[in-house]
Structures are given as C-alpha cells and as structure tokens.
Assembly symmetry: C2
Homo-oligomer: 443 residues x 2
C-alpha cells in the first residue's frame, strides 16, 4: 500500500543531497536532483533558495525545465528571476504559461522589499451571496489548482473590492446554509502594495496572522502575503540590522557565498568613514601635545577612558535602535529615552569612575608608579570617566533618533560609529579635566 | 444585515485603545477594554502580549474573568502564567476548567524557550482508517472547539504515535472515498519537546511550514507549534543577539518597560568585564612609558590605530556571529572563514594603512608638525595599521568559533569585547613596530 510506511530511501536521499549541496559542482547538483524520487524532488525544489532554484532549473535538460518551473508559485518565480541576469531571465520566462507569465510580470514591477514584492496573486475568492456549503465545494474545486494558502477565503465584491474574510475554520464550523456575507469578518487587517516588508512583518507579529491581503490604492485586492514568507523577512531584516550595527553595509547574501570583492566594498565604505572620523583624534591629541609632554602619565589612561565611553555608547544605541525596529520606541519617545539614559550614564559612569579611581590609588600603594600627584591623577580619571560615559550614553541614545528624524536608517548609528564620535570628544573631556585638576601640580 | 458593511466604530475603538495603551493606568486599561464590542475585545485580548493579558484579566471584576481566560489557548495561558508571581498564578489557574488546567500544568513543565514551551496541545487528530469524507465531517465537529490550527490534520496510531499528516488542502482536493492512510504524507518534519526555539524557527524557515508536530522521546505526539508563534520567536532571538552584540546581557523585555535597576545590572556586568580588560591597556602603556616620553608624537596616533583594529574586528565578528545564528556557517567551516578574513584583513589593513601614511606625509607638507623623522613615523603607522587590522579580523572571526566550541553563546563575542581585546594587543603591535622602525632615529 503506497504511503502507509515511511520510505526511508526517499528521506535519506533528500537529506544526503541537502548535506552535500554546498560542496557539489553545478553539474553534480543537477544530477543529484534528477536522481531523487518525484516527491522528494518537489520538496527539495520548493524548499531551496531562489538562487538555488534558478541554478537547478537552468542545469536541467531543456525538455525537463518547464514542468519544474510550473511547480513554483508566482511570487517565488518573481524572486528567482530577480536573482538572474537579463538574458537568463528571458530564458526562464519562456518556460511559463501565458497566465503565469502575466502574473509574474505584474509582480516584478514591485520592489523586492515591499508587500507587493512578497505577495502571491493566487488566493481563494468567494462571492458574498454563496452559502457555506457552496463555498466548501467551490473551495474543493479551487484547491486542485496551485494555491498558496486555503486558510483564509476572501470575499470579493464588484471590481475585486475586498468585502470580508472567512477563515477555513469558520467555514467548517458554520451551518451549511449560512450565507458567506453573514459569516464573514469585515474588520480585516490589510496592507497596501508599497508597504515596507518590515512593517508587514510587525503586523503579522502584532495580530498573530497566517496571511494578510494586499490592496491597491483603490481598495482592489491584488494578492496575499503568507506568514511563511514573513519568517524569512524577519530573519533577513534582523541580519541587515545586525550587519549595519557591526559597522558595515548589509551583505544581502550568506557570508560564505557573497563574492570577496563585494564583501570588501561593503566593509571598506564604513571603515573609511570611521577612519576619517577617527583621524580627528590625532588632531585633538596634537592640540594637547604640550600637556602630554609634561605629564606622560596622562597618556596611560587614554585607551581606558575613550573605550569606556565607546562601550556605554554602544549599549545605549543598541537598545534604542532595536527598540525602534520593533516599534517599542517611537520618535516622540525621545525625551523618555533621554531621561533613562541620562540616569544610566550617571550610574554606570559613577561605577566605572570609582573603579578607575581605586585602580590608581591601590596600584600606587603596591608599586608607586604614578608619582607624588597620584591622587590628582586619580581624581582626573574619575571625573573623566564619569563625563565620557555620560556623554557616550547620551550620544548613543540620541543618534538613532536624529538619524530616523532626518530619514537615515537608525541602525547606522552602529557601535563603531558611536565609539568613533565618543573617542574624539572623550579626549577633549579628558584633557580639559586634566588641565583643570592638575593645573599647578603636573601641568 | 449584520456584518455586510465594515463597522468603523468597532475598528476605531480598537485602534484608539491600542494607541493609548502605553499611557493608560491599569484601571483605565480595564475600563477601555470593557467598553469594546465583544468581537473587538476578543481580538484585542488575543493580540496582546502575555504581560498585558494577565494584567487585563486581573483588572476585570471577578465575575467576568473566567470567560475571557477561557478564550486564550493553553500555550498562551502558560506564557501568561510565567509572567506572574506565584500568588497571582494560583488565582489565574483557578479560572480554568479541569481539562485546560491539566494541559496548562503539563506545558508549564517545559522551559519557555524550547519546543515544548511553545506548543499547543490542541490539534486535529484523525485515524488512518477514516475516509476523507468522514475526516471532513469529523473536522467540522472538532472545529467548533478552540483549536489552534486546522491547517494540518495529524494521523495518530496506537499510543498517540504519529503516523502521518494530511494538509487541509489535500483533504479538500482528494476523492471523498480515499482512506486517510492512503492520502497522508509520512515524511513529516517533527521536533522533540526539548529542541531549542531558535532551532525550531530555522526548521520553519527551511521548510516553509505553517505548523510542526512535537513528539516526545518515544514518538508520541504532544502538540503542535504554529508559525505565528515562530514570528515572535524570531524577533525575540534577534533582539537577544543584537543586545548581546551591543555588549550587554539581553534585556528580555521592551526597553521602556524594563525596570531601571534590572537594566543597569544587565549593562554593568559586561561593562565591568570590558573595563577590567581595558585596564590592561594602562599596564601595557606603562611598559612603553620611556618610549612615549622620548617620542610624544607616537601618542597622537594611539586612538586611530587601536580603534581601526576594533572596527574591523567588530565587522568580522558581526558577520560570523550572524552567519552562525542562521546556520550559514558551522564549526567545521572555521578554516574557510579564517582564509576569507585573513585576505580581508590584508586588503582592509592595506587600505587604512596607506591612508594613515598619506595623512602624515601630506600634513607634514602643509604644517611640518611631525619633525624630521616624519617618514619613519608614517612607515610605523602604516605597518601598525596593517598589523592591527589583520589581527582584528582574525580575533573577530575566530572568537565566535572558540566561544561556540567551549559552549558559550557566540553572540558574546560582541563588538565592544573584540575591540577591548584588540586595544591591548594593538598597543603592543604599535609600540613594538615603533621601536623597530624608529630605533636610532627617535628612540
């Protein structure tokens, strides 16, 4: 009896191919794929990334390409075509039947990272005057085609206008003679075609949705976005934010597959900006050259002091950038955040400052390394740490608001960026404090 | 006719309450909630966070609590109870009926961040010998209860053993007299109760799933995890990684709601570790005090050089940590990553080193600030930048592997942590290079 027992050979073959995939040549990949049983091959193709799907299909003999291409839903075909050069794109487009080609062409007009670029134009449509029983048999008919989801049924009126939605669960539990229009929910959460995918993903998280309808500006239904695509979006957006936060441009491809030259470009850009900014430290230090010459001891604590400002600033900006990405903090909250960070900066600066003070005083007892004015030096370090940490938290927390306000991505207020800003100011704070505290003693 | 037209008042009331929520007192929240129409109130409650759900229900008059509590699925009740102190927990447990209480108690035994802690014990069960038509009417009966999802139907044999799965779509399109056992898929992706939620979320992303069955060690079905919970998990795990990456412990609550003292504790811990590590820079500098005194010019470039190492190190560790979290890079890939980062370090270090060299030489032409040996200083800076950047990328990329190998979270190889490590070594590289290049000239 087919299907009663698991078919271990099929599963093993599938897992083997998955494991070996990154190490195989193009030819071996296509061959391995063709050796899979039909069911496993379908699962493998549909579970692959767009890049791999395109490579796989182009690696097959021409006669076989068409049947595999037709398995893939139109929104995934659009993604796949976007991975390819123009010439291959036409070749792949040629494999589609006329209605799918039309759907895919419409989808290609959207940016990849907006609702229109994520949506599938195939969904279950009902008419408001159907009975629930008619709806079920209509659904059974539509289910034989390739539909992305049957879990919500969309009730459309004239001109494709969305009137309401019936979930499959509601359909199943309703009395058979209820009219669709009496059972449908009319307070439907929907999105416009051009809504950013990050905003779409927040709606999914907020409302615990499985699918969301996409409407155009006139309220006509264009397709649905399903939650399985959203899981990918959330991963992708988090990766982008994390990479920007590490002080570089987002790679937009897995680390091991992105070409070396692309990676260098994406890293070198921000590195140069940071380097040019950091050059100001040399200018600032040159300004204090006279002080340094007469109190070399001051230089010993430069890295300690400026890095403490960088570290607390990095914490503050991390917290604010992430809270903004999750809509936990809005622009109008800047003053509440500010107050929290001022308080944090004072407490954390006080702790680190005291530690720095103790370090110098205790060290001096063990090996008298800091000369007769060690207590003044310790006071300078305490005050500088307090000031630098406070400044770090303020810059780290305000910068994301400022960036957002002027239309930049708040995630660009990265740990290295904040650290660079704080380094320059930290030096000025340190040497100003020193010349005030040590005047007449060391300076 | 009810339900035909959208009910704007209901939607407006719901959105108003959502907007005003963070600013309302506990009493106003309960009152606002009670003023919502039934449908909107249900949607609001089910869409709220566990914390808000608990607060809402406890804020209602005792007579009303029970009905609302029963709306919430058992897995969400378990989350809600975990937010509360023991005493309130018992009070809330008292509102449940006996079977739900049993389900919830079983769920509370799981850790919040493993598959068991995410799963819902209510799902649709079928017997293998049913026909598809029988399955549909059985489903229509079960759908009247509170089921989390009806999109997959699980075929169970003796002792709750999972034999296969039928999707609702397959059920709808199959011939009515097909037996369930002949239509079901047997190669089911499942997870064990104790699988970490991050691993569960990767399975969802890999296979584009809507729900995944949870089995115990003996293969008995315990419940299902649905994709709507996974969207939250992905957000949550990314937030944790980002916060660790910013150099602190994960907050585990929204920034504006976490108590101030908790936040300070979570930030101060890592700050102290970093501060103690950074103290070594003062020790290292003390070691070179003699050199500094005779060539004060060297101090000018200290922040520039060490921060460049920190920035490239932060880029490298960001890339590796994120790639590890997404399973794009495994432990065994360390050498491939290493080679890429060695090459990146050489290129990026070469670029920054050349810029540093040019900066000194050009500046010297404009304002002769660096003395007769400026060319030797420029060479020192070039070589140090190359060395420090190379060292930064190596440390930044290897540290996450090392952490993972010894069982730490790779995300702890944060930007500030890498920067601190590189600062100390950066100073040693700089001053060693200086004493070699400048010997006999400045030193």
């Amino acid at each position: 009896m087919p299907g009663v027992e698991p078919e271990p050979s099929e599963e093993v073959a599938l897992d083997d191919l998955r494991d070996a995939w990154p190490l195989l040549s193009k030819e071996d990949r296509a061959e391995g794929f063709r050796m899979l049983p039909r069911g496993a091959a379908e699962e493998f193709l549909l579970g692959s990334t767009s890049r791999d799907q395109a490579e796989l299909i182009l690696g097959l003999p021409e006669a076989e390409r068409r049947q595999w291409m037709r398995l893939i839903p139109p929104d995934d075909i659009a993604d796949l075509l976007q991975e390819e050069q123009l010439e291959k794109r036409d070749e792949l487009m040629g494999l589609l039947d006329a209605p799918t080609k039309k759907e895919v062409t419409a989808l290609l007009a959207y940016a990849e990272d907006e609702a229109g670029g994520l949506m599938n134009p195939r969904y279950v449509r009902l008419r408001p005057e159907m009975s629930m029983d008619e709806a079920i048999s209509y659904l059974r008919k539509q289910a034989r085609q390739h539909l992305e989801t049957v879990y919500y049924l969309y009730v459309l009126g004239d001109g494709q206008r969305l009137l309401g939605v019936v979930s499959l669960r509601e359909l199943l539990k309703a009395q058979p003679d209820t009219r669709v229009r009496d059972a449908m929910r009319t307070d439907v959460v929907s999105v416009t075609e051009d809504l950013d995918q990050e905003a779409v993903s927040r709606l999914f998280a907020l409302h615990d949705l499985v699918a969301i309808p996409v409407l155009d500006a006139e309220g006509r239904m264009k397709g649905i976005v399903t939650v399985d695509d959203i899981v990918d979006v959330v991963h992708e957006e988090a990766t982008e934010d994390i990479q920007k936060f590490g002080g570089m441009a987002a790679l937009e491809a897995p680390y091991l597959t992105v070409p070396f030259s692309d990676m260098i470009k994406k890293r070198a850009g921000w590195l140069l900006v940071l380097f040019l900014g950091e050059m100001l430290t040399a200018t600032a230090m040159a300004h204090y050259e006279h002080q340094i010459a007469s109190a070399v001891i001051l230089t010993l604590f430069i890295p300690l002091i400026i890095s403490s400002g960088g570290n607390t600033g990095s914490q503050a900006s991390t917290l604010v950038v992430r809270a903004m990405a999750l809509d936990e903090v809005l622009l109008r909250d800047w003053w509440r955040v500010m107050r929290r960070e001022l308080a944090s900066g004072l407490v954390l600066g006080g702790i680190l400052g005291s530690l720095g003070f103790l370090r110098i005083v205790l060290w001096q007892w063990v090996v008298p390394a800091y000369g007769p004015h060690y207590l003044l030096v310790a006071i300078t370090v305490f005050m500088s740490l307090l000031g630098v940490v406070l400044f770090g938290t303020i810059v780290g927390s305000l910068l994301p608001f400022l960036f957002k306000r002027i239309g930049f991505d708040p995630a660009s207020a990265s740990a290295p960026f904040v650290a660079t800003l704080v380094d320059v100011t930290g030096l000025i704070i340190y040497f100003s404090t020193a010349s005030w505290v040590l005047r007449g003693a060391l300076l």
